[in-house]
Amino acid sequence: MSLLGTLARLEAVRSGRAEPLATVRHRHLSDRPMVVVPLTAAGESGAPLAVMLGTDRAAPRLHIVPQPLNRTLRFDHLAGFAADLLPYLESFGADVEQVEGSEKDPETGEKTQVLRELCADAPQVIVPNGAGVHHLALLGRSTRFRRTAEDADPGPYPAPARVPLLGRWLTHLTDRAQVPGSSLLLPMTGLLARHWATGQSQLEDQHLAALLAWHPRPEALRDGRADGGPAGAAAAELAETARDGHGQLLHPPAGPATDPRFDELVLAPAIGRYDAAVTALRDAGPQERERAQRYVDRTVERLTEALENVLLPTWRDVWHGLDLLRALPPAAHLAERWEGDRWSYTGHRDRLAAGEPPQPRQDDAVTAARKLAQREREQVRLDVQEALDDPLAMAERRLAGEAFTGEVVEVVPDHDTSGRTPKPRPLVTVRTADHPHADLGREAHRTHTATPQKAVIAAVDQEAGTITLRVMSGMGRKKEPEPGSLPEPGERVTFTLFELTARQSAPLPEPDDTPWTHGGPPGPPDHARALGGAGAPPAAPLVAGAPRPSAVPQSPDASEEWE
């Protein structure tokens, strides 16, 4: 956490309410996001217990597993989850625009113009917290290799038809969530923590209800209290610890893990009653069957009710968080970054359509290197764009000595006459209170100009608080600078000591040229995965000439035990 963040937290302690960490919204928010609140069964990682999801806050859909140890019931649950989630994810695939790009012919090396499809919009899934993202990744890992009855060799435990597809989508979304600045899958705690500081630690901010307790409560969530209840730390502590007469938390944790006391006092007895009802149904004679079935249905209803009570507060919290975020004006670069997400979505849609196998358990060396390079590049891009979009983010960089803002006191025309034609190289002097790491000769970049403008630090006068820069570019091609390309005296300008565009990393070898130090060319099953989880713009070929397997390869995962 930076000092500015700490300062905001200190202010929040004093004011008892969240203080802004951003003046604009730094993540794209869809008009129609899909909110997913998952719950997991304790003790076994990736075991689903329930999920509440939907695009309409008034109509959440709930799916539960009445007995989490039962594999068949789990698959039924996942099939229900898939039936609700997949149509939403797939609904963005049809509306496409054509984007021109160039592709290198693998044989001749010539560049040819191609038209690519880019989906006009992409889905957005919002989960309560980071643990929710991790849980979806586990679900993806545990289902994407499953065999279904439609496969040639379904194995002893075929999964419902759309479950492996659900796993592949969840894997793609959680993989993309690793890319800085991406918005296909976002945790609400992360979103809120990016935009507001609370008067508690980052650790405590992981609890969604405690985090939201620092924001004023809307009418609907006030539990009938006229004053909106206590503020700040007291409200957060209530959200964390307050229990009712039965020892149950008034505000259950956002999961995916449930409160152990809930497991012990509510869930375990309810599951026990369900088990008993199922046993009774199995042993029932023909006359009693109907009654026994009704009893089973009733136990399922009661379980559903218990889980709904645990999930609904978090469901409302996530929507409340979305309301708070929507009140912020969107940052200028959101559309550009969202395009990356749209490419990522389009790429996955295309890979599914091409019948490619599921994402491998572990990436091969080339894919891993590409993903890493992409994430590093996106991190740099995100930092730069946030700083340009938001004076508070730029303040962070100024505090770190990586940028400075000040008033222009003097502009002196000067020329570089070493070449055949003189070029403009004017000197701009800026008075600033900032303390940048301004070594002489260091490159600086002026922000918010129509064309990129580079300058070199020519003189630093610490006593007068001025920095003189020699402007090197962004002034047109003539002898004198284009009108308006230089700042006027009295104008406020910001220069950064970091570049304003992310650098392209060095090209990586094709998968077939992977050096032996990195495991050599990948084996056949991974061959088609040229660029996993790619959200890369079309400059990087999406499927780089790698031969596609004619059929889904035999995978050892198909026989994986899953109980």
């Binding site: 300062l7 304790a42 003790g43 990682s45 508690q200 938001d390 004076p391 303040a395 209170a433 994986e560």
Partner: protein, 397 residues
């Protein structure tokens, strides 16, 4: 929890007993010992743990009970996995032992599993474990599995009893086998859970070193990296057995615990120096809850809070997930306006400034002129505040 009143009462033990009152001593288990390493600077925890005080009960009486608990499903899963490994004469467990410890597979060397008298009292069980370990270490060619042995470790002058899942003895050396129910997924596991398991296993290794030293009639070498080479000495890597992927089949990983061992030893050495901490307490200090006949505490809350207050704590938000008194200490930190409530890193960032009010005063416009030379942290805060005000003001206007 095991109660232990063995050995002659030492002055230290007596002083700790006075702090505790008549309540039974909470003996330190491996988890508690390992958790000590999480916050070594906390005197409150060191004193209360050394005295064997039930911190959960104290926190409850102070009005901020610890929210910990384990789900019955998690417990059932752990028990189920372990019993599956040990079913049919340890049939499933043998496979990882063969692969990682070199247990022959042809049955040429049968695995001996001595009876460790699990139904007896802790002292008897510890004696029996020591005897079984000596016997097993005496024959280098034999393979012996000690199932739930009970080890004794002297902590702050009083014995603590520890129960590893299993110990395998062969060639005069033994290896701790720790069974955990979190999965190893595609060759990797949750690092936080592996770390916790390693710290716990380090406590077992330490106890085994003490047992081996006692069998040889010596004491444990003091250096943290000294390698013990006595009959029955433990290996410095342990075998972690976990479910593989989403199945119930086991997979085993050898985990080097030398670093955790050194940390734990340092912590325990500190605990024996607990008398220095006790010297600073006012005479008559007690954490006795004075339970009535129904077991309900009668000790006045204010008095108990004062006693707890007299031992300084080193609160950090991490305490909330590892210490029963975490919520109480947080409330105190907030009450005292201390900056630690925002995280340990904040404290380092703010230098000599200790309170939220102090930090905000340093950031305010009044302090900007005077303190600039004297305190770098204050100057930085004031600069940050100016930048923040400028950025937010620009947004409003």
């Amino acid at each position: 929890m095991n109660v232990s009143h063995i050995g002659p009462p030492e002055p230290l033990a007596q002083r700790l007993a006075e702090l505790r009152g008549p309540a039974p001593q909470r003996s330190l288990n491996a988890r508690a010992l390992a958790a000590l390493a999480a916050n070594p600077g906390c005197r409150r925890r060191a004193v209360l743990d050394a005295a064997g005080i039930d911190k959960g009960a104290v926190a409850q009486r102070l009005g901020r009970p610890a929210p910990f608990g384990q789900s019955p499903f998690a417990i059932a899963r752990g028990t189920m996995f372990e019993s599956r490994l040990k079913a049919d004469d340890y049939a499933v467990l043998l496979e990882p032992l063969r692969r990682h410890l070199g247990l022959p597979s042809d049955g040429a060397a049968p695995l001996a599993v001595p009876d460790l008298l699990r139904r007896s009292g802790p002292a008897v069980r510890a004696e029996r474990t020591a005897a079984a370990l000596a016997e097993a270490a005496a024959d280098p060619s034999a393979w012996t599995l000690l199932d739930h042995p009970l080890l004794r470790l002297t902590v702050a002058g009083s014995p603590a009893y520890l129960e590893p899942d299993a110990v395998v003895v062969h060639g005069g050396r033994c290896t701790v086998v720790e069974i955990k129910s979190f999965p190893v997924l595609d060759g990797s596991a949750d690092p936080a859970k592996v770390g916790a398991a390693a710290r716990q296993a380090a406590v077992y290794v330490l106890a085994l070193q003490e047992t081996a030293a006692a069998l040889a009639g010596t004491t444990v070498a003091p250096g943290p990296y000294a390698v013990q080479a006595l009959p029955g000495s433990p290996e410095l890597s342990v075998l972690l057995v976990c479910p593989k992927d989403f199945s119930n089949r086991p997979t085993a990983v050898s985990v080097d615990i030398r670093r955790e061992l050194a940390t734990t030893r340092r912590q325990l050495a500190r605990m024996t120096a607990v008398d220095e901490l006790l010297d600073t307490l006012a005479p008559g200090t007690s954490f006795d809850l004075a339970p009535d006949q129904a077991g309900l505490p009668t000790r006045p809350v204010a008095e108990l809070a004062d006693a707890v207050e007299s031992v300084p704590a080193a609160y950090g938000p991490e305490c909330l997930s590892s210490c029963e008194l975490g919520f109480h200490c947080r409330a105190q930190a907030r009450c005292d306006d201390r900056v630690e409530q925002l995280g340990r890193g904040v404290r380092g960032e703010l230098g000599s400034i200790r309170t939220v009010a102090g930090a905000l005063a340093a950031a305010g416009p009044a302090a900007a002129a005077g303190d600039r030379e004297s305190d770098e942290a204050a100057a930085r805060l004031s600069y940050a505040a100016a930048l923040r005000a400028e950025a937010l003001g620009g947004c409003a206007g």
